[in-house]
Amino acid sequence: MTQLALIIDLNVCVGCHACVTSCKEWNTSGAAGTMCDDNPYGQDPTGTFFNRVQTYEVGQFPYTETVHFPKSCLHCEEPPCVPVCPTGASYKREKDGIVLVDYDKCIGCRYCSWACPYGVREIDEHEKVMKKCTLCVDRIYDESLPEAERKPACVLACPTSARLFGDVHDPQSEVSVTIREEGGYALMPEWGTKPSNHYLPRRKTRMHIHEDELVRADNPLKKEQREHAEPIDATTLDDSTSW
């Protein structure tokens, strides 16, 4: 079985919102109709978005860290929004695990948006149907596009390659290996929704310099008692270990 998903690397995301705008641009131009966008340049702008980038501050000054956090549908393996749908408009595809809404069957009752703990389903206030991320299902299988472009719009737009796209059920895929090796995690694991999208944590690269490394502690002249100009009397790491 295939389960397509996104991997979002919080270590790399710079919060530029390119994924947000490219998502809106691609999906509002598609066959499924426009995504509403009221007063985009006026007061109280509002509209439908499948993807948003939020910003969080972790810690307290001066020990703070800014985390940019893109959020879209996680295409859960146990999607709580699907069984609650009274019409079957909300469904999870057997073929690739994408959670989709059939806009022609949706009655706009909003129950699925209540049943999603992540708040990634939005009612389109003009078309009155529930909309959500489709993983650009109209793009990833489009054979008229060059193969490299058969990816979700957000993935292609990301300037820092913070977004990976692939099959998380294939253990050798790039995304699966990344989840395993880079500590990929799921959001709100407490509800058992098993999100397919994973996030990679912030990772620090630190350089440790031991005091011994600042002077040449293992100078062979020391053994021959022809000491260095500045003698080191203390036992060094080399004195106490042997390999």
Binding site: P45, V84, T87, Y111, E122
Partner: protein, 325 residues
């Protein structure tokens, strides 16, 4: 959650309809075993159950205002295997049909005696239809309650108390209406319904208070830490990603002050439980139909406040992602 008035009216109106039907049927079943006198078929059973049907129909109409595409509402009956909402969509018309048949049979007095015991207990065809209606009524209460109780991360709702409260509050309002209705059509039953209305209202007070106490002590499982997956005690949202509003900021929060929430709570406790019982008592003592009608109206207003509070109190975990502009 943001309380939608369409859903508030749907749940309170069908609650009255269901409760009133239960009351009318209780009257008939007591008379079948000769604990109560048999009432006039047309004036009492037919009119009473038709009145219940009117409330159910009004609730059905109110529910359509909640839908983006009411013309497709029929599709909502398809996923009854998994969705409580779909089950409700089936149970409501089934109940309405059974009440319609029950009412019609009483109106035209199409009734046959199926069985009479030596002690005088009678089983009529209308009782059998009514019994099916009672099963449908309880099924509908279960479906309505489970729509809310089944969403496990709305922790204020995810409790058997939700179903019990829908059942008891709906039945209480129906029995108070039955008391007022019988004061016009069957004065002999006023006390019978009045006592039952009091018992059910007091039971509802106990279970609703239990839910309030439970919700006041609730410990939410989701936090900003689990929401973004960063383990640190101090995390603050700095931006939700947009400066205008969206469905996320409008649909999941009541946007009222704490004082308002607190006032609504005490208002609904007063209007749903204590004032109606007082009016009920006076109405029965003074045999005053208007006072009994007042008891029903006050409780119905209380139930609107109760339902508003029920929705507003539920804290959706998605709100964690929308703390600041």
């Amino acid at each position: 959650m943001h309380p939608a008035f369409s859903v508030i009216f749907l749940t309170t109106l069908i609650g009255v309809g269901q409760g009133l039907f239960l009351a009318i049927f209780t009257g008939q079943s007591y008379s079948a075993v000769e604990l109560l006198p048999t009432e006039d078929s047309v004036q009492f059973y037919a009119t009473g159950s038709m009145l219940a049907l009117v409330f159910l129909f009004a609730g059905l109409i109110a529910s359509l205002f909640h839908l983006g595409h009411p013309e497709r509402a029929w599709r909502a009956a398809t996923k009854w295997r998994t969705s409580w909402l779909s089950r409700e969509v089936i149970a409501l018309p089934v109940l309405m049909f059974l009440i319609f048949v029950y009412s019609l049979m009483h109106y035209f007095e199409w009734d046959t005696m199926l069985f009479t015991s030596k002690t005088g207990a009678r089983l009529q065809l209308t009782l059998v239809i009514g019994m099916l209606g009672v099963i449908a009524t309880f099924a509908l209460f279960l479906c309505t309650g489970m729509i809310y109780a089944a969403i496990k991360f709305l922790q204020e709702w995810a409790s058997p108390l939700t179903v019990i409260n829908y059942l008891l509050l709906g039945t209480a309002s129906g029995f108070i209406l039955a008391t007022a209705f019988s004061s016009y059509t069957a004065p002999g039953l006023v006390k019978f319904y009045g006592v039952w209305a009091t018992i059910i209202t007091l039971s509802a007070l106990i279970t609703r208070s239990a839910a309030l106490i439970r919700n006041a002590r609730i410990k939410h499982k989701s936090s900003i830490q689990t929401a973004i997956g960063v383990r640190h005690n101090q995390i603050q949202q700095k931006s939700m990603g947009f400066m205008g509003g969206s469905v996320n900021t409008r649909d999941f929060f009541h946007h009222k002050t704490r004082l308002f929430m607190k006032s609504i709570k005490w208002i609904f406790i007063l209007l749903t439980f204590f004032l109606p019982l007082l009016f009920l008592w006076f109405g029965i003592e003074q045999a005053n139909s208007n006072t009994l009608i007042m008891a029903f109206i006050i409780q119905y207003l209380g139930l609107i406040a109760e339902r508003w509070f029920f929705f507003a109190q539920a804290n959706h975990p998605q709100n964690i992602y929308y703390q600041t502009i």
